[in-house]
Symmetry: C2
């Protein structure tokens, strides 16, 4: 078994080689990886079967087994993802600006690779390839640490990716999987200062909190979303119903799904029955404030303080009638996780104030929160959705995996 | 004494008010602060005298007493700094890009305030005002935690700044000083997740390492600099001498001063005596490799492994003769702190490779490392120099104190 410090040393050596690769070389590597995954589908499925059998033996619930499972179609999808990353523009080398100072220095800011990127994730073997492909295209080496449930799948995928790079004469040390899946190895990885330039956790709230609490390396916090839809007094109520139903029901298990509905008191009597009717076919339970229950009756559970802060990730929603736009904004800023928030309105000032005053990565007027996504935003791919304010906020595409340096051309200047 | 959690709650309340201020309001506040500092110079000097007397009684060395000391001229300088921040362009509100997606959403990325910014610093009372002014202009509330040696000065400055804002009808809660100067309050501040959006340590290596190790809030690591000057085989040696002497001697106590000299073997015999002659008038001690000592004699101390990693911050320098550009780049990437690095060369390829392959915030061809500074780079002001790769790298101006949000204008779009 490769020890973590050996892996970190390999990744550091490889980072210089990866940083020097041109775009064509990186794309050639990504296409070779895609081909290797397709050519070795059988081997991947065999490795995955061990994980599935272990998972069943350990009583993993079917939902997790499904996330873990790889079949021909899914492997083809993962390979296609690599081809898509190859097709993206290379973020490296762009000079964001350059200007001449009065003493004749030409100072510019250039986009350069991060170095070594760590990713800690759970039992989704596809992340092993997605993350490796994005880091490679961004010119960085990566250290991946997946959940132990997907260990055999991730090992097999990593072996194939490294062999594909080596076969093209490219640095296989660009892609590294932590082979020790104990809790210790995760904790050790969070403290690899000087070796890891950034650590990105991808997974549930527990994993993310553990990384935020324990890491001493720089972290990008991703993903929990307590997203709100606020229906203003002036809203087009049919539009509001469509947006609410889409934001809540189209895929309730994801972080950009709505978890809370706020309704202006002047729209409540007309809109709340429409909301209930729209959510009923999907069997959504409503946890409402007293005014909601007055209007919708006892089928609505009483909302607790806790409900307003919950990310249900399922067919439940909290609901509150508010007296004003101010109350709506204050409620959102108190309970949200800084992810995605929506106002439905026809009022100009309300739209501008909501955009300005709501503190979140993505703020919508008259559109579903479900659009917060790297593909939908036109970034072509996504490594996660940042809910912190440093470095990257919202969907993170390739540029979020890069940094910048200042380059200075002089001809002998001194101070 | 205001408790830290009360201060955090005040700052959170104030952040919404500060974020809503227009540029004219913020500038009015900054000019009022400048006026208040000038009008109350006597009071500031009196408060400062208590710190100076306590410092002397506690045996503080003269260098620290000097950093701590405020007089009329220094206070005028601090007030002038506020006026300069007022004169800077407002970073808030800029839309970095906006584009229309195929389904008709207008998606843009807008620069917005960070929220609450924490600054931990040492016994320099001027930082109290500098940091508060920059955070205020950037639309954020701040929580300042200065060294206990400067407590009375910082309290007085903070009181005057808050009163100046209140006098203009602006939110005084924008500026907060931690009144508890125990170690506990610093540690508690590092773990204010959910209250602090970013924490920036400004000071020596010990302070910065303590924050990096203990903080669970997002941190921007600033400032230590083990900076190199590499004199290539093809260098204009007189230019190299000028740059070396400037980088080492012009102000050796700062992070962008050179700490190490690398010389290509083909230039060593001619250049090392020039280097020694240039450094001699300032009394710089050289810690050299065996080849350096062969050329310069026993006046050069033998360089240890530790010397190559040291930030002397004084009249000392390490020196190594290297066989090639590759060795120079590898040496720098091994020992540097990611701050500022310089090549002196006439060779085109060497200049390009050095710019590309050296991993640092600022990489120079033929200019002194001393230019790594927010004012010199044209940012108008500086909150520090980031040596990490997330969010901000190199000198941090006002924009480094901001974040972005995505704003989305729709007309009913759903997924």
């Amino acid at each position: 078994m490769r020890q973590l410090m050996d892996i970190a040393a390999d990744a550091r050596r490889a980072k210089y080689a990866v940083a020097r690769l041109g775009t064509n070389d990186k794309n050639r590597g990504l296409l070779a990886i895609a081909d290797a995954l397709l050519a070795n589908t059988r081997e991947i499925i065999d490795a995955n079967r061990i994980d599935i059998e272990n998972g069943r033996a350990n009583g993993l619930v079917e939902g997790l087994i499904d996330r873990l499972m790889l079949d021909e179609k899914r492997i083809a999808g993962i390979a296609e993802g690599c081809r898509q990353v190859a097709a993206l523009p290379d973020p490296i080398g762009e000079v964001l600006w350059m200007r001449k100072t009065p003493n004749g220095l030409n100072i510019g800011q250039k986009r350069v690779p991060m170095g070594v990127i760590g990713i800690i994730y759970e039992a989704r073997p596809n992340v092993t390839v997605d993350a490796a492909a994005l880091c490679f295209k961004a010119g960085s080496a990566c250290i991946l640490r997946g959940g132990k449930e997907a260990f055999h799948s991730s090992m097999c995928l990593t072996r194939l990716m490294r062999a594909a790079l080596a076969g093209e004469g490219l640095p296989e040390g660009a892609i590294n999987l932590v082979e020790d899946t104990s809790r210790d190895s995760a904790t050790q990885m969070m403290k690899l200062n000087g070796w890891l330039d950034v650590l990105i956790p991808r997974g549930g709230a527990g994993l993310i909190q553990s990384v935020v609490r324990n890491a001493t390396v720089p972290v990008i916090e991703t993903g929990t979303g307590n997203c709100h839809v606020y229906v203003d007094a002036s809203a087009d109520l049919e539009m509001a119903q469509r947006i609410l139903v889409n934001a809540k029901c189209q895929r309730p298990s994801v972080c950009n799904a709505a978890e809370s509905l706020l309704v202006h008191k002047d729209a409540a009597a007309r809109f709340l029955p429409m909301a209930a009717a729209g959510l009923a076919p999907s069997g959504v339970s409503i946890h409402g404030c007293p005014r909601t229950r007055e209007l919708l009756g006892d089928a609505v559970f009483p909302a607790t303080e806790e409900d307003y802060g919950r990310e249900y990730l399922g067919y439940e929603i909290s609901c509150k009638v508010v007296d004003s736009l101010d109350e709506a904004i204050a409620h959102i800023n108190r309970y949200n996780t800084g992810h995605s928030e929506c106002i439905v309105t026809r009022d100009y000032e309300a739209s501008q104030r909501f955009l300005d005053e709501v503190d979140a990565a993505a703020v919508y007027v008259n559109a579903s929160t479900r659009f917060t996504d790297g593909f939908e935003f036109g970034f072509g791919a996504e490594i996660g959705i940042s809910t912190q304010k440093l470095h990257a906020r919202g969907p993170m595409g390739l540029t979020a995996l890069t940094t910048t340096k200042f380059i200075i051309y002089g001809n002998g200047q001194i101070r």
